[in-house]
Amino acid sequence: MSQEILIWDRAASSLAPARFHEDVTADQLAEAESQWKPFRQAAAQRLLSSGSTPQDVFRLIQHLHWDWLRKAQPLREGLLSVRCFGIEAEDRWQGLVMVELAAHSAELEPDRGKPLAYVEFLESAPWNLAEMSDAPRFGLIGKRLMEAVIRQSIEEGFGGRVGLLALPQAEPFYQDCHMAHPDGLAKLGMNWYELTGKNAGEFLGERQ
């Protein structure tokens, strides 16, 4: 099922219509990857040609190695706990988020131990990112995807709680989404970010 939403057209400096898909399939993830991979690779090549080292490139674009074709495996297996949402505009995928809905719980009091929606991966298309494009095409993609995750959390009875491990590069974005980073909580070199039910309400309220 899909519905119309509004995203930010940076060239026109105005809101533009897009389609929000609430059940992205494994085939659609493969399609997105086929659209994004050449753009990612070209951006990395440009940086290397301009004198950046491979280490610089991975520091500048920390999710460069992501591959949605491989990430599609849980959907192919029919895992009930994993869902994927996506945004489409101009016949291209503009953003994707994969959410896990059974195996993670809140770390922050007073809801410690209660279930939350865990963001496995969230990515805006490479042409929307300043690190990979001189003229990023659309904005608001990440925020729209976070809204969808919060709404799913509410629908599941999780009260809007959301958690994730953030790449260092993405931390300012999640802070801007009202997510808290409890000191000392990190895994795999990434900090734990959590959105409480209260902050989820504030985030959604701001976006009405």
Partner: protein, 65 residues
């Protein structure tokens, strides 16, 4: 569908629903999702472990597929 649970099972379901602040339906949905996830991974030859970092203990949960 009708779900038939024994009294002790219903008691546990009620306790979990209260502790997690979920409806009983949501608890059962979570249980089904976890059971499916574990079953798929066991079928692929993976193992399920519980780890206690404080006590430095790690134990395998043996599941028959």
């Amino acid at each position: 569908m009708t779900l038939n649970l024994t009294e002790p099972e219903m008691k546990v379901l009620t306790q979990l629903a209260e502790r997690k602040e979920l409806s009983k339906t949501a608890v059962l949905r979570q249980a089904l999702r976890l059971y499916q996830m574990v079953s798929i991974r066991i079928d692929k030859g993976e193992k399920l472990y519980f780890e206690n970092e404080l006590e430095k203990k790690k134990s395998e949960l043996v599941m028959l597929s």
